[in-house]
């Protein structure tokens, strides 16, 4: 009996159990094979439920488990790093016809996955809080920021962060229709999402790509509150280095 046959029967409940297996007492294995089938399926669904708690709340436990079962069968993990399983779950939800009316779900899943990625991302020591203030304005304008590898950005046409908060935090207000840009930043070891003002996501993305502060601010457009976004980056320990002409 090949492991291919075993695997196909594990992932497809409509297939009968593979040949060549017995119960140890001379009879066919029967439902003993289902122990493995059940272990595999339940462990994958449990991992998904642990990784997407807000999506669980939004869908309800039973609906979530049914959808996660379909996802797990169609997209089994591609590596033993279960802590990062579910990378394409948001895309799966977006293409899942019965959920078409819940357009915000994929972005809530993206937010949760970004939090998980940030949690496991590499450590990087932040610069001192006064590091930017020390520079003359003309030097600062031409400087480039090295941002922490723990940062993630999400630009959603939905109030993805407000929906996430409403489901995950006691006393969070009811979400109102709005597009939301979100920064996930990790202060020490705890990632948290932050709502961004106009242009801030474009500014941060440009910085991540190596733009000078002046160029990043131009890319962000007129609505950008530069002081607010730099303050947020400093406060969350997200600036790892400041490179400028007088850098050592």
């Amino acid at each position: 009996m090949s492991q291919a046959a075993f695997t196909h029967a594990l992932l497809d409940p409509d297939r009968s159990e593979p040949e060549g297996l017995s119960d140890g007492f001379g009879a066919p294995a029967g439902r003993r094979f289902s122990v493995y089938r059940n272990n595999v399926t339940v462990a994958l669904i449990d991992a998904m439920a642990a990784g997407f708690p807000a999506v669980v709340k939004l869908l309800g436990e039973e609906n979530f488990r049914n959808i996660a079962r379909e996802y797990a069968r169609a997209h089994p993990p591609q590596s033993p790093l279960m802590v990062l399983y579910g990378a394409d779950f948001a895309d799966f939800l977006a293409g899942f016809a019965p959920l078409e009316r819940y357009g915000y779900l994929p972005d809530v899943a993206r937010l949760e996955y970004a939090l998980r990625e940030s949690y496991h991302a590499a450590d990087a020591a932040p610069v001192a809080p006064d590091r930017l203030a020390e520079l003359p304005p003309e030097t600062l304008a031409e400087a480039r920021l090295t941002l922490a590898p723990t940062l993630r950005l999400l630009c959603s046409p939905w109030p993805a962060l407000s929906i996430w908060r409403f489901n995950m935090q006691d006393g969070a207000p009811k979400p109102e229709a709005a597009a939301e840009d979100v920064l996930i930043a990790r202060k020490e070891y705890d990632p948290a999402p932050h709502l961004l003002g106009p242009g801030a996501a474009a500014f941060i993305a440009a910085c991540q790509q190596g733009a000078r502060l002046r160029e990043a601010a131009e890319a962000a457009g007129e609505g950008l509150d530069l002081g607010a976004v730099l303050g947020l980056l400093l406060e969350t320990g997200s600036i790892v280095d400041v490179l400028h002409e007088n850098s050592p």
């Binding site: 009996m1 090949s2 492991q3 291919a4 075993f6 695997t7 594990l10 992932l11 060549g20 297996l21 017995s22 119960d23 140890g24 007492f25 009879a27 294995a29 029967g30 439902r31 003993r32 094979f33 122990v35 493995y36 272990n39 595999v40 462990a43 994958l44 991992a47 089994p76 993990p77 591609q78 590596s79 033993p80 790093l81 279960m82 802590v83 990062l84 949690y119 496991h120 991302a121 590499a122 450590d123 590898p149 723990t150 990790r186 070891y189 705890d190």
Partner: protein
């Protein structure tokens, strides 16, 4: 290769869970070492690695892999081997162990420890994989006996003979899971004491203990499920006593991976393990 068949202390250990971090650092007694699942510590950074660094300064560590698929028909995943090497290089654990099982088919990781038949073909493949792991890691590994729910028509030898031969061919040590012995023996209708008596106990570098659930198969026979979700049952403690009387003291791990209890409940299990070790002549 260094003989690391018994590098961990012959004391109780626990499978480390992050929710017990503060209590373990405050007072872990009688726990003398900790085991981690390798795959949970393969991220680039963050709290998991920070906790692991701090714990490793205080405790001998055991790295227990659950994703290498040593019993797989296909080749070992070179990326995963490299990740294991990175972890073992920086942590320098007292022990590395993996399972006599498979979990990956082609690119799909099935997140379970799946069974294989025991015959000359699978023996050659498993021995080759174990050698490869030991070469890449530059250390001896321990190979663990699985829990079984079914048997293969194309098995030609017993599990104990299979493990003895893998160890003889590769120089690997063995990890004896006494609960798995009890589960498999009950499910497949053989004597758990007979299994222990046939096991090459001199190769055992670590013993696992865990809880199981009890169900029934189609014929109404007991079907035990290796769930790691509750206390170790009395017959398994008795089988441990039978084992230790023959093997002498060994590092004893309490595995509790699902429905993880609070620290006092888990510690009570480790106290029972300590008592089991106390009555064994060294």
């Amino acid at each position: 290769m260094l003989d690391q068949t018994r590098p961990l202390p012959a004391l109780p250990g626990v499978g480390y869970k992050p929710q017990h971090y503060a209590e373990i650092l405050a007072d872990a007694s009688p726990v003398g070492w900790l085991e981690i699942h390798a795959e949970n510590y393969m991220g680039a950074g963050g709290r998991p690695l920070a906790q692991l660094r701090a714990l490793s300064e205080r405790f001998p560590m055991s790295v227990h892999g659950v994703g290498l698929s040593i019993g797989g028909e296909g080749p070992l995943d070179p990326d995963h081997l490299a990740r294991l090497r990175t972890l073992c290089d920086w942590l320098d654990p007292a022990s590395f162990s993996e399972h006599l099982a498979w979990s990956t088919h082609e690119s799909a990781f099935l997140n379970d420890l799946l069974p294989l038949p025991y015959n000359s073909q699978t023996l050659a493949r498993v021995a080759e994989h174990v050698e490869q792991v030991q070469d890449v890691l530059g250390r001896q590994m321990l190979l663990e006996n699985p829990s079984s729910y079914l048997a293969f028509d194309d098995s030609e030898m017993s599990e104990t003979d299979f493990l003895r031969e893998v160890s003889a061919r590769t120089g690997c040590g063995l990890l004896l899971d006494v609960n798995n012995v009890f589960v498999s023996a009950t499910n497949l209708g053989y004597s758990p004491q007979g299994y222990i008596d046939a096991f090459p106990l001199e190769k055992v570098g670590e013993i696992h203990l865990g809880g199981h659930d009890e169900e029934e198969d189609d014929a109404g026979r007991p079907l035990l499920i290796d769930s790691h979700g509750r206390e170790v049952v009395d017959p398994v403690w008795a089988l441990l006593g039978h084992t230790l009387a023959r093997s002498g003291p060994r590092p004893l791990l309490i595995e509790w991976d699902n429905d993880v209890p609070d620290w006092p409940t888990l510690r009570a299990e480790t106290l029972r393990a300590a008592r089991a070790l106390e009555v064994v002549p060294a």
